[in-house]
């Protein structure tokens, strides 16, 4: 494609050959270091065997002793509900007892001599969002960090011509390098990040999304915090917030949820010694630790959460940084469901990958970490799926009072289940109110009260995510070998879907942040 005499963008020229080798290396970076932790082949032989045995047992049970089997299932689900409820209460309690977040004041952040600051690599994967480039470059320009120590890499797909052109038009500063990632499957964000990491110069590395507006002192704060924390601290997660938080009902709920997660649960998770599922962007790494961990898993759709768990398994610390990056909240119902189902699917992937060798996981994470990992990463999507069934069952019981429900619930399951349903949900709603107040969202109190409707949306997304993972397990394997064009197309389409979510809000709304 040649336009107005500009540089010719092509992805098939012979000059791309070294890049292709590099992109292969970046895709396989995790395979090289920790093949057992890669989601490339989602189901290991052990996992597959276990799943088949469990499934067979379930079917046999349902055929030969349907009531008994259902009772056992309900007992398991109820126990997990109870455990999760207690665990969340504990996390909340822990976050109230002490503050593990690294806080660096403006003065402290600015006090560091420029010459003492490490080189900082900022990776920004951009895909098919030419209209974001202007805002992105403005946000990057606002970062208070010596330019000679800033190594910004915009990771663009080499065949994404509109974005490439927009970037060239915007005349990025000399500290910004435009990296063209050769097209290759899987066309995912983690792959682009791994590719960018290959050329990173910084001692510290961070990631921003194209529509992110990081707080300008964030890099300096992170550098100071890393210095304070010492070499064992491999990663610092900054907080994420929304600049369109009051746009509509969904963004209001999303805002409440994010605030609760980043301000109340994550500090609790850190204090409770559980692995921190990193969130999307604004995670800051020591490059050495990141590379040693194998970088991002190009085959995991929540590569961030997976990386957090992997770092924990490798004995690295993950901390929290008091600094906020403003993002755009998904405001459209369908896009929200898509995004959320990807998260749930990714959590399930992460869960399956790390549970391949449960005993090893237990040794790596310790009992507290093991329990936390299972309840947070496995429990979140699984319970969200179960919610669909248990809520329906409760409704049926309340309205119709059929006799067969009594059979399924021996007294203790009944009481514990009822307790979880009534008291547990009440507690979660109440914690939502508390979070709204603690996190300065007190104007959203009423929305916090109606959070259960948002949980219904979550349940829907979890169902979609789980179904997608269950119906298309081979989906992932085929893409690796590159032998199934359809699945490649599928994958590409999925990725486009994901990226397009960010573009779904028309431009003017982004300016809304000035008034919020």
């Amino acid at each position: 494609m040649i336009e107005r005499g500009r540089r010719r963008y092509s992805s098939h020229g012979p000059a791309d050959r070294p890049e292709v080798a590099r992109v292969q290396a970046s895709i396989l970076s995790l395979e090289m270091k920790h093949p057992e932790l890669s989601a490339r082949k989602l189901l290991s032989r052990g996992t597959r065997t276990t799943l088949i045995v469990l499934l067979a047992a379930l079917i046999a049970g349902l055929v030969f002793a349907p009531i008994g089997t259902l009772v056992v299932l309900l007992a398991i689900v109820t126990s997990v509900y109870l455990a999760t409820m207690l665990y969340k209460l504990w996390l909340y309690y822990e976050s109230g007892r002490g503050d593990p977040v690294f806080r660096v004041s403006d003065d402290e952040a600015r006090a560091v001599d420029d010459a003492m600051l490490p080189v900082y690599t900022v990776l920004v994967p951009v895909f098919r969002e030419p209209e974001s480039v202007g805002q992105l470059l403005t946000a990057l320009e606002a970062l208070e960090y010596p330019r000679d120590r800033l190594d910004v890499k915009l990771l663009l797909e080499a065949d994404d011509v509109p974005t490439l052109l927009a970037t060239e038009d915007a005349h990025p500063g000399h500290y910004v390098e435009v990296v063209e990632v050769p097209p290759a499957t899987p066309r995912t964000k983690p792959k682009a990040l791994d590719y960018g990491l290959l050329g990173a110069r910084g001692e510290l590395v961070t990631i921003f999304d194209a529509e992110d507006i990081p707080e300008p002192l964030q890099l300096r704060r992170a550098a100071v915090a890393f210095d304070r924390a010492g070499p064992s601290m491999a990663c610092l997660q900054a907080r994420l917030g929304f600049y369109n938080s009051r746009q509509n009902l969904i963004t209001r709920w999303f805002t409440l949820e994010y605030a609760m997660w980043f301000r109340d649960f994550l500090p609790g998770i850190v204090r409770a010694g559980a692995p921190v599922p990193l969130g999307g962007t604004s995670n800051h790494f020591r490059r050495g630790a990141l590379i040693a961990a194998g970088g991002w898993d190009a085959f995991n759709v929540t590569e961030d959460a997976d990386l957090g768990v992997r770092l924990a398994r490798l004995g690295q610390s993950v901390g929290l940084l008091d600094s906020e990056t403003q993002e755009e909240a998904t405001s459209d119902f369908l896009n929200w469901v898509k995004q959320r189902s990807r998260w749930y699917k990714g959590y399930l992937q992460t869960w399956l990958v790390h549970l391949r060798k449960p005993r090893k996981l237990w040794r790596d994470l310790g009992p507290k970490g093991f329990v936390g990992f299972n309840l947070l990463v496995g429990g979140t999507p699984l319970l969200a799926v179960c919610n669909v069934f248990t809520w329906t069952l409760t409704l049926v019981w309340l309205v119709l009072r059929p006799g067969w429900v009594d059979q399924l619930f021996p007294a203790w399951i009944y009481y514990v289940g009822l307790f979880c349903f009534v008291v547990g949900n009440s507690i979660v709603i109440y914690l939502g109110l508390l979070s709204a107040r603690l996190d300065g969202n007190h104007d959203l109190l009423l929305y916090a009260l109606f959070m259960p409707i948002y949980w219904l949306m979550m349940a829907l997304a979890a169902f979609k995510g789980a179904l997608q993972l269950a119906l298309a397990p081979s989906f992932w394997e085929k893409t690796v070998h590159g032998m199934a064009p359809e699945s490649i197309i599928d994958l590409t389409r999925t990725e486009i879907d994901l990226r397009e979510e960010a573009d779904s809000v028309p431009g003017p709304d982004r300016l809304g942040r000035a008034s919020t």
Partner: protein, 581 residues
């Protein structure tokens, strides 16, 4: 107690606290208060129950409600009953199996006494925490706590297994964080206060009033404290009020929902034949005779009760209000609103003829006075006065502390004297008079006295022994446990009884023969409290045409119920007539 640790944390935060002491020592003080007061209450409880056989029916019936959940023919959570609040019984439930080691825990309801002792000791510890938060120095602080612990009302209700101790505990558990919130507005304090009030509602219905009042108070204080533009202020105030109010609302709503789902009526205490409304209206004339009427007369009666429990309350309250207004300090509202709110509610229900007007309903006056006195004796909140106090020479400081302690002793100690004297007043302290005077007379050898209530449940225990000696099948003895609970508790075979919470109880009452009931236990003058005699008014006297008197059990000491055991005759298969006498 968890309070000890949290108290010390807050103490440490106060800079230049004149009474700041090392953390360890504070924990020890709180623990000492808890342990010593617990020991006092337990010893008293033991004396009351085992030495003088003074067992309170209300306390014993809370053990019974827990007992039915586990040991009845039809064990289920709902057996706890919906007339009264469930928490006192739920707390006991896990400890019921200990009856295998010590049967009196259940048969004499000593579990309830242990429970009230624990919660009253907890209340004393919380009071200590509140006073320590005020920065009150040790001498007056411990004096106030000690006077509270040894107040005759605290002693009796800490020892006797009633739910007053739970009410005081949860109210003070709300006052402590609420008072902290007045000084340091973290929403987390409101959560603690809200949860305490929410649990308090499940212990005693009155707590709902405290919850409402506190929610309003928090909203108002938050609104005037917030330094935002007017819009945000309203949101913040609403959010704060919601945080403290929602747990109470949830307790209220969920308890009503459970009641509605299971017994078909959300507020059973107003509706049930066993509920407060039914009992009060059945005793209306008696109450009126004592109280002197409704409206103004009732309020006068309550004022008299409050005066004997805390003679200094009004004076202290007025002074504290003036001081607080001058200091522009809302702190005391954290104590006045919940504790006073309950008192006001009790006065209002009595004035509206909806209450028995027992002396114990005003028990919150005692800790309220202690907190107010503590507030007046503590250095004013703010740096300058604290600094002045630190700068004072040690002799003066010691004199000041001694003076404060003496003041505290005189002002609150007076209440102990008047309360004890009131126990001899059969109109002002009806329950206490009938239960405590005979014990005091016996203990101190004050000559012969009426037994009044001593051993009044002994007859029921003998009935249980009698039935235990017979070979009976499960589910063969029908009894309404609203009055018959001591029999079931004392029996070694609780499953033999068909009791009120059983799902087949109504059918068994309607058709005893069809339900294979062999025997019916029934007593005289049951009022509304017996579904069986309500169905068969002539059963006690004549057998109602289908039952034959087996045996009459008079009260062994003449102060309890007289019971009759009837044999159910199968009138359909043989027409012996069945009516003896």
């Amino acid at each position: 107690m968890m309070t000890a640790e949290t108290v010390s944390v807050v103490e440490v935060e106060h800079e230049e606290n004149p009474v700041a002491q090392p953390r360890r020592r504070r924990i020890t003080e709180a623990r000492a208060v808890f342990t010593l007061s617990l020991a006092v209450y337990l010893v008293l409880a033991w004396l009351f129950v085992f030495r003088y056989d003074s067992v309170l029916g209300d306390a014993l019936s809370r053990v019974a409600n827990a007992y039915y959940m586990v040991y009845s023919r039809d064990p289920k959570l709902a057996a706890v009953g919906f007339v009264w609040t469930p928490l006192p019984s739920l707390v006991m439930a896990p400890f019921l199996p200990l009856k295998a080691l010590w049967p009196a825990l259940v048969s004499r309801g000593f579990l309830a006494n242990i429970e009230s002792a624990l919660f009253m000791a907890g209340a004393a510890t919380l009071l200590r925490g509140i006073l320590a938060d005020l920065g009150l120095s040790r001498a007056p602080r411990l004096t106030l706590v000690m006077v509270f612990v040894l107040n005759p009302m605290s002693l009796y209700y800490g020892a006797n297994g009633m739910s007053e101790a739970l009410l005081l505990f949860f109210l003070l558990a709300a006052v402590l964080p609420l008072a902290r919130w007045m000084r340091q507005p973290s929403p987390r304090h409101l959560v603690a206060a809200g949860v305490a009030l929410g649990l308090g509602y499940l212990a005693r219905y009155e707590a709902v009033v405290a919850g409402l009042a506190v929610a309003v108070l928090v909203g108002v204080v938050s609104f005037f404290r917030a330094r935002y533009d007017s819009r945000d202020r309203r949101y913040v105030a609403t959010a704060d009020a919601a945080l403290v109010g929602v747990p109470v609302a949830l307790s209220f709503g969920l308890w009503a929902l459970a009641s509605w789902l299971i017994v078909g009526h959300p507020f059973d205490t107003f509706n049930s034949r066993y509920g407060n409304t039914a009992q009060v209206s059945a005793s209306r004339q008696g109450i009126q005779n004592v109280v002197g009427g409704t409206g103004g007369a009732a309020l006068e009666y309550v004022a008299h009760q409050v005066f004997v429990l805390a003679p200094a309350l009004i004076l202290v309250l007025v002074v504290a209000l003036v001081v607080a207004l001058r200091r522009r300090d809302p702190w005391i509202a954290a104590a006045i609103v919940p504790l006073g709110g309950v008192m006001a509610f009790q006065a209002a229900t009595l004035a509206a003829a909806g209450s028995f007007g027992w002396l114990r309903f005003q028990i919150t006056a005692i800790p309220l006075t202690a907190v107010l006195v503590g507030y007046l004796l503590a250095p004013a909140w703010g740096r300058s006065s604290r600094r002045a106090m630190l700068a004072a020479p040690p002799v003066r400081r010691r004199l000041l502390a001694a003076g404060s302690a003496l003041t505290a002793l005189v002002v609150t100690g007076a209440g102990s004297a008047t309360a004890f004297a009131a126990f001899g007043d059969s109109t002002l302290a009806r329950e206490e008079y009938t239960h405590i005077t005979p014990v005091v007379h016996q203990a101190w050898g004050w000559g012969p006295s009426r037994r009044l209530t001593l051993g009044d449940l002994d007859g029921e225990r003998r009935i249980a022994e009698y039935l235990d000696r017979r070979a009976l099948g499960d589910g063969t003895v029908l009894v309404d446990v609203a009055l018959g609970f001591p029999i079931v508790l004392a029996s070694a075979h609780p499953k033999r009884f068909v009791i009120t919470p059983d799902r087949d109880f109504p059918d068994a009452v309607t058709d005893p023969v069809g339900a294979h009931i062999g025997y019916i236990l029934i007593s005289r003058d049951t009022g509304t409290m017996d579904a069986i005699s309500a169905k068969y008014p002539s059963l006690y006297d004549t057998g109602a045409g289908f039952a034959r008197l087996v045996r009459q059990f008079p009260s062994p000491h003449g102060n309890g119920r007289t019971w009759r055991l009837y044999r159910v005759m199968d009138v359909r298969s043989n027409h012996l007539g069945g009516v003896t006498q």
